[in-house]
Symmetry: C2
Subunit: 104 residues, 2 copies
């Protein structure tokens, strides 16, 4: 579908992409984590897109198996949600992954 | 207002009350915290009350200054949100407060 193609384009053209909701604390946590490590993600706030928000959320589920937000992509790869990203960081693997991809 | 009176009644008649949203991870965290310490809170899911949900959320803001969820009350007293409750627990003060009130 066209929406699916636009998501694939977005995650391939942007090193870090976060599908988020503005009022969601887990989304806030993952956004501020990237800020702390000096990386500026492309953030797409699903609650600010009118009817496109829920549509995008379903497309992301189709593409990644994950319906929930935040939904995090690094270097075009699906990373997961807040907990997954924080775990990766605690293992030291987040900054490694980012530097391997020359991000940040 | 009648809604305000019903909130005051709810928090005075129930030792632990959590105003929550079913799909919110912070709400899930605080609900499972009480479960882990063996306390059964009264949980009011604001997203399952149709138009009453947003109305209740505004009443809670008027009563406590807090608009966000989760919104936690113990022994009729406003405790705060997820972070506040977790902090209290890490300091050992949550179980103390609950036992002082003969809860759980
Ligand atoms: N363990 C997941 C939890 C994700 C989750 O449950 N997200 C909630 C918001 S906190 C969600 O997407 N709920 C459905 C919705 O908002 O549409 C993570 O760490 O990201
Ligand atoms: N630090 C607060 C954060 C509370 C917060 O930002 N809650 C969000 C959901 S996670 C909220 O209520 N957003 C507005 C809404 O859902 O109506 C806490 O620990 O509870
Ligand atoms: S909506 Fe509350 S943590 Fe996501």
């Amino acid at each position: 579908s066209r929406l699916e193609e636009s998501v694939k384009k977005t995650i391939s053209e942007n090193p870090v992409v976060i599908y988020s909701k503005t009022w969601c604390s887990y989304s806030m946590e993952v956004k501020s984590l990237f800020k702390r490590i000096g990386v500026e993600p492309l953030v797409i706030e699903l609650d600010q897109l009118g009817p496109h928000g829920p549509q995008l959320q379903k497309v992301l589920e189709r593409l990644t198996g994950q319906y929930t937000v935040p939904n995090v992509f690094i270097g075009g790869k699906h990373i997961g949600g807040c907990t997954d990203t924080v775990k990766l960081h605690h293992k030291g693997e987040l900054t490694t992954l980012l530097s391997d991809l020359n991000i940040g």
